[in-house]
């Protein structure tokens, strides 16, 4: 299931935990992101109303930071490294396998809301290349076969 749209009440309660000050904007957006894994438009509008900042300002901040996203994210984020070391050790084939198994391209989320696929440039673990992160866990020395098995494990 995709993360649900928060109700008006829920966002109001979240807001109430912060002082009604424009400086709270980023903190509030981060908190919403943390809970819903993305920023639903209804929530952003409520934040604008609560802090009395223009909606345009909320949207500006929400689209500026990489840590904030406007698209619903899956429960687990799969980050596949496409950095130099991983690339040389065959990360492209690993990526192709993930795309095939999950049926999504980088930046997309599976229809069941379980996974979001992202590519990154170097995870700082080049010795383990090619590297894939599933949620908080790092998996090194990936091959098409191993990632296929891994995806099966985490899906069940």
């Amino acid at each position: 299931m995709l993360p649900k749209e928060p109700g008006e009440k829920e966002v109001q309660e979240l807001c109430a935990g912060h002082p009604q000050h424009p400086g709270e904007l980023l903190a509030l957006l981060l908190e919403i992101q943390e809970i819903y894994h993305y920023l639903p438009p209804t929530a952003m509008k409520e934040v604008a109303r609560y802090l009395a900042v223009p909606e345009s300002q909320v949207y500006a901040v929400a689209t500026f930071y990489k840590a904030l996203t406007l698209k619903p994210q899956g429960k687990k984020i799969i980050r596949i490294c496409q950095g130099t070391a991983c690339h040389l050790r065959g990360s492209s084939e690993v990526l192709e396998t993930i795309k095939e198994v999950l049926g999504i391209a980088p930046g997309e989320t599976t229809t069941d809301g379980c996974f979001t696929l992202e590519t990154v440039n170097c995870l700082g673990a080049c010795a383990l290349a090619p590297v894939v992160m599933i949620g908080d866990e790092t998996h090194g020395q990936m091959t098409p076969e191993r990632i296929r098995k891994l995806l099966q494990e985490v899906s069940t």
Partner: protein, 250 residues
Amino acid sequence: MSTKLELKVNDNVVTAERGELLLDVLRRAGVLVPTLCEHPGLEGVGSCRLCLVEVNTGRRSQLVASCLYPVEGELTVLTDSPRVNEARRFVLTLLLARYSDVQLIEELARRYGVKPVERLQAEPADCLLCLRCVRACAAQGNGAIATCLRGREKRVSPPFDEPPADCVGCGACAEVCPLGAIKVEEGEGKRRIWGREFTLVHCQSCGEPFATREQFDYLRKQPPDLLVEEELCPRCRKLDQALRISGSTT
């Protein structure tokens, strides 16, 4: 401390008020400084860097954006030195690479003898990101538009890329845009901008459409001294006032 200062500008002596912006001083003295992002009614942001001039405080000499530089002491200012020209031409070279189809930029480039550089290939764009539109909208108290995203993707947009709820259709953004990048359409008693449609209000005297219904609604929410009682276009309002003053209201 006296508030009057004497500046030396390209060999001439010019007086300035302490704290005045250098660009305003130069303009008053009739010195031509090219600008793009600056607009007299809006707070400066210094984003285009075209207004660079060289200032010397006696201790050191540096390039500053004159639209943001408050005059605080005696200064020597050069607006046409080799250093200024080099910097200005560099800025224009970059602008020309991206806005090669924009007439205003072409004209500026020609005026300063800047030619396109083959190896600089930039995606053409129609917005300078000078933020005049954003600042104008904020100055009106609406804040209906802002920039979104960042880096190369940065652009001006209404929130959520939807027709903006806070917009009153005043068209100030389009009015101040130096490149005419914001589209406003008017016809059949309507004004269309940012994907929204506004109903135009007709002057009660001459019948010309001159503002939107939403602009009046917005004004009515302001403190009473700003209240507009009669919906008269600026021309008819002046006429009305003139007639009242002369006492012949017939």
